[in-house]
C-alpha cells in the first residue's frame, strides 16, 4: 500500500500478492499476466475479501494461489460451473475465472458455452498458449492443424477453435483479446472486462516458452507487430502498419486490407463498433482464419448489455415472494390437505 503526499492510500499490485512462491517456469508468459491482474485489481478499488478467483486444472489454474483474495483451485474444466453457483449464492462478490485453452475449450467446453449464454457477472481470463503445458506438451483445441507435439508426432489433424468465434456463437456479452507482452493493453482490457455487467471473456495470448515458444511472437516482435496486428478501438477506423498507412474496408461482407492514398481515405474505412454484432461476427469469422491475409485483432471485439443471470434469479425470487408472500415453514410442512386422527 502506498501513501501519497496528501495522505491518501493508494493500493498497488503488491496488495494482491500472497506469500506463496510462484511456480511457473522461468520466462513463462503467466508472470506478466499475474502482474497485470494484480495491478488491475488495485485499480478497481475492490476489497481483497470480496474477490474470488476460481480455476480448473493446468498451468493457468495455479493462479488463485498467487492472488491475495479468496480462491479455489478446482477440477479440470469446471471453473465456470463453480463460479456460476458461487455468483448465484453471493452476487456481491467479484468473481474471476483463470483458465487455459485446454481447460476452457476442451474438457470444460460445455461449461464455457453455457456460462456465456446465461451471462452471470464473471470475468473469465483464458490464457491461450495453443498447447497443453502442465501435462507436458500435447496439442490443444487452439493448436493449428499440423502441430507437431508429443501426442501428434506426425502433426495434429484437428481443426482448431477460434475462441472468439465460439463466444459469439454462445451468446457472449463481452468478448476481448489481449496479450501477455502488451501490459498496458492487457490492463486496460481487464479493467473494461471488470466493468462489464455480465460474463466477460478475455482471451490472452500467452507464450509457453517450454512447449510452444514464440507462437505469438509475430504479434509482439517490433519488426512484425505493426503489420500483423490491429488494435480495435471503439468508433475508430481500423488502421494498422508502421505509419498507420493501412486500413480495413468492408467489401460487401468481406473485410479487405487497403493502402490509404488517393483512392481510399479514412472515411472509407471500417469503423469499429463493439456493439455491432454483425461487425463482431465478421471480425471473428475472417480475421482469425489463417487463410485470410488479415492482421490479428486485439481489443474489445463485442459487447452487449443484457441482464445478468443472478439479477434475473433474484427478480424471480422477489416476484414469487410478493405473489405468494414469505411462506411459513409450518404451512409448507402441513401442505394443503390434512386430516386429524383423534
Amino acid at each position: 500500500m502506498l501513501t501519497t503526499s496528501n495522505g491518501e492510500t493508494k493500493r498497488s499490485g503488491k496488495d494482491f500478492a500472497t506469500d506463496q512462491d510462484v511456480r511457473w517456469c522461468p520466462g513463462c508468459g503467466d508472470y506478466s499476466i499475474l502482474k497485470q491482474v494484480q495491478s488491475t485489481l488495485a485499480e478497481t478499488g475492490l476489497k481483497n475479501e470480496d474477490i474470488v478467483f476460481i480455476s480448473g486444472i493446468g498451468c493457468a489454474a495455479r493462479f488463485p494461489y498467487y492472488i491475495e483474495s479468496y480462491g479455489m483451485h478446482s477440477i479440470h474444466g469446471r471453473a465456470p460451473a463453480i463460479a456460476t453457483g458461487l455468483k448465484i449464492s453471493n452476487p456481491n462478490l467479484s468473481i474471476w475465472v483463470a483458465t487455459g485453452d485446454g481447460d476452457c475449450l476442451s474438457i470444460g467446453g460445455n461449461h464455457l458455452i453455457h456460462v456465456l449464454r446465461r451471462n452471470p457477472d464473471l470475468n473469465i481470463i483464458m490464457f491461450n498458449n495453443e498447447i497443453y503445458g502442465l501435462t507436458k506438451g500435447q496439442y490443444s483445441p487452439t493448436s493449428p492443424i499440423g502441430t507437431i507435439s508429443k501426442s501428434s508426432p506426425s502433426g495434429s489433424l484437428d481443426t482448431p477453435f477460434s475462441p472468439l468465434k465460439l463466444c459469439m456463437g454462445a451468446e457472449a456479452t463481452f468478448i476481448a483479446r489481449s496479450m501477455d507482452r502488451d501490459p498496458v493493453h492487457l490492463r486496460t482490457t481487464l479493467l473494461e472486462a471488470n466493468q462489464h455487467q455480465g460474463t466477460s471473456f478475455v482471451e490472452v495470448y500467452q507464450n509457453c516458452n517450454v512447449f510452444n515458444d514464440g507462437a505469438f511472437f509475430q504479434y509482439s516482435d517490433k519488426k512484425s507487430k505493426a503489420d500483423t496486428t490491429i488494435i480495435l478501438e471503439q468508433n475508430q477506423p481500423l488502421l494498422f502498419g508502421e505509419e498507420k498507412e493501412k486500413g480495413i474496408i468492408l467489401d460487401g461482407f468481406q473485410p479487405k486490407v487497403v493502402h490509404l492514398g488517393e483512392a481510399v481515405g479514412h472515411a472509407d474505412l471500417w469503423v469499429h463498433d463493439a456493439y455491432d454484432p454483425v461487425k463482431a461476427s465478421l471480425i471473428t469469422q475472417y480475421f482469425d482464419d489463417p487463410n485470410n491475409d488479415l492482421p490479428k485483432p486485439f481489443g474489445i471485439i463485442f459487447k452487449k448489455e443484457r441482464p445478468t443471470y443472478e439479477s434475473l434469479i433474484i427478480e424471480q425470487m422477489n416476484a414469487s415472494k410478493s405473489a405468494k408472500g414469505e411462506e411459513h415453514l409450518d404451512a409448507l410442512l402441513s401442505g394443503e390437505n390434512t386430516w386429524t386422527v383423534s
Binding site: 500472497t18 506463496q20 476489497k47 481483497n48 475479501e49 470480496d50 474477490i51 474470488v52 476460481i54 488463485p64 494461489y65 491475495e68 483474495s69 479468496y70 480462491g71 479455489m72 483451485h73 478446482s74 477440477i75 469446471r78 460451473a81 463453480i82 463460479a83 456460476t84 453457483g85 458461487l86 455468483k87 448465484i88 449464492s89 453471493n90 456481491n92 462478490l93 460445455n110 461449461h111 453455457h114 434469479i313 424471480q316 425470487m317 414469487s320 415472494k321 405473489a323 405468494k324 408472500g325 414469505e326 411462506e327 411459513h328 415453514l329 409450518d330 409448507l332 410442512l333 402441513s334 401442505g335 390437505n337 390434512t338 386430516w339 386429524t340 386422527v341 383423534s342
Partner: protein, 616 residues
Amino acid sequence: MLETVTKKEATVLFAGDSGDGIQLTGTQFTDTTALYGNDLNTFPNFPAEIRAPQGTLAGVSGFQIQFGSIDVFTPGDQCDVLVVMNAAALKTNLLLLKKGGIIIANTAGFDAKNLRLSKYEFNPLEDDFLSDYKVHSLDITKLTRNTLKESGSSLGQKEADRSKNMFVLGFIFWLFNRPLNNTIAFLETKFASKEGVKEANIGLLKAGYNFGETSETFSTQIEVKPARLKTGVYRNIQGNEAIAIGLIAAAKKSGLELFYGSYPITPASSLLHELSKHKNFGIKTFQAEDEIAAICSSIGASYGGALACTGSSGPGIALKGEALGLAMMLEIPLVIVNIQRGGPSTGLPTKTEQSDLLQAMFGRNGASPIPILAAASPSDCFQTAYDACKMALEHMTPVLLLSDGYIANGMEPWQFPTADSLKEIEHKIPKGPIEGNFLPYQRDKNLVRKWAIPGLKGYQHRIGGLEKEDLTGNVSYDPDNHEKMTEIRAQKINNIAHFLPNASIDSGHPNSKLAILGWGSTYGAIKTAVRDLNAEGIPAAHIHLKNLHPFPPNLKEVLEQYELVLVPEINDGQLIVLLKNKFDVVFEPLNKVKGLPFTSTEILRHVKTLNKALLC
C-alpha cells in the same frame, strides 16, 4: 340386495395405457383414502416412455395402493381389486391378483387390435380363462361417451375418451363407499379455466359412482374402516416431495439460503420441480447444463455460504464422482441425493433398485470417505434429508443421501412435525472478526474446520483439490503430511458415529435368534414380514439401518446377539459386503434384482426355508 364385506386391509391396482390417466386416478383415490382415515402405502409403476405405443405390454402403467384399518407398511403383495383398461394391462398384472379377487375390465380395451398387441390369442374375458376371479366386464369407453352425450357435453370424442378414468374412479369410490367431494374439489381447481372439461370430469365421476349403485351387477361393497393411527394431524407425502421439504426446513432452521443444482434425470427430476415451486422461501434452483455442472455449481454455492444440494440418480452420480472428491477434499458442506434406479449404465430408469450403495461408499478416486444416509419410507425421506443437511453443516462434509424410485414416487400418510420441534442446526461460518492468522485447515475437537466464506474480511484463503498441508491448507507434496491428512479425513467421518442414534430393534421379537437387517426402502416389506412371522409364532427381529457410513456406534453389539442376520436387499448383495468386512457375525443375503421392491411374502417365505433351529 346390497351387502357389505368388511376387510382389515385391501389392495387395489389400477392399470392401463400410459395415456389412460392411471397415475392421476391412483393419486386421487389415495388422497380420499387418506382423508377417510386409512393407513396406506402406494406404488406407482410406469414405463420409461412418456407415451409408449398404445395397447402394448411395454406401455402399461400401474398404480397400486394398499390401505387398511390396521398399520400398512407396503403397497401390498397381491391385490384384491384389479382395474384394467385394456388387455395388455390384464396380461401384465394378472399374477398380482389374489385368487377370487375382483377384475374390473374395460371391454373396449379388449378388441381385436388390443388382443393382438397384448399377444392374447383369445379374448380372456369371454372364456373360462378368468374363472378363478370375479370378473366385471364393462364397456367403460361406451359408458363414458353415453354419459357425456346425455349431459350435452361439448367435449370432442378424443377428449371424452381421455376422461374415462374419472368414470372408473367414481365406480371404485362406490365400491369402497368413499365420498366424492375431495376429487370434485380437485377437479374444480385443476380445470378452473376449462368449464367444459371440468363439468365433463365431475359428471363422469358421479356417473361412475351412480353406475355402481344402480347397476345390479354389483351386489357387494367393501368396507375398510379408518385405522387407529397415532393421534395427531396427518398429510399424504411422496418421497421426493418429502426430501424437498426436508431441505427447505434445514435451510430455514440453519438460517441459510438453499441452493439446488441439478440436471434432469429419472427418478430425481421431481425434486427439482418441487424446489423450483418454492422460490418465495428464498430458494435458488439451477438447472445445469450437465450432471457435472450441477454438482460444481452446488460446490460453488456452498463455498459462498449457501446450504447447497445436488440430486440425481446412479448414472448422474457416476458423472459427479470427481467433483464429489473435490467437495470431500475442500471439506465443505454439500448434500448429494441419489434417487437410485435399476442399473447398471442406463439400466431401468423407471424401476427401483438399491444398487448404488457401494458406489456411494467407494465410487471415487483415492481415499475419499463420505457419510451415507438412506431413507426408509416416503415420509422418512423428510427426516433423512433434514439429518443429511445437519450432518453436512455441522461436520463440514459432503453427505450422500440414498433414496430410490420406489419411495420417491410412493405415498403414505405422514404425521408431520412443527417447525419448532425440529432439531437446531449450527453451521461453522465464523462469527466476529479474525484474530491472528486464519488457518483454513485448523480443526475443532471433532476434526471439523471452519467455513470461512468469501466476503469475510481477513479470512482470505485458497483451497483446492491438491493435497493440503495440515492447518495452513497450502499445497503439500510431503509424504508424511499426505498420510496424516488421509487419516484425519477418515477419522473426521468416523467421528460422526458419536453423534448418531444407536441401532435398535425396530420391531419384532426381543429374544429371537434371527434378525432381519435392512436399509432403505425395504423397510415396509421387512416390517410386515416380521409382523406376520411373529403372528405365526416364529420369532424374528427387524433392525433397520439409516446410517450406512459410518455405522451407528453400537451396531456390533446389537448384531452379535443373533445367531443369524438375514440381509434382504434390492441388489445383488451390497450392504452385506460392508457388514462382512466389519463384523464377525453370520450374515445371509436375500437378494432381488428385478427392478421391483420386495413383497413381504417373499421375505416371509425365505425365512421359513431357514434352519428350523433358528426359528424358535
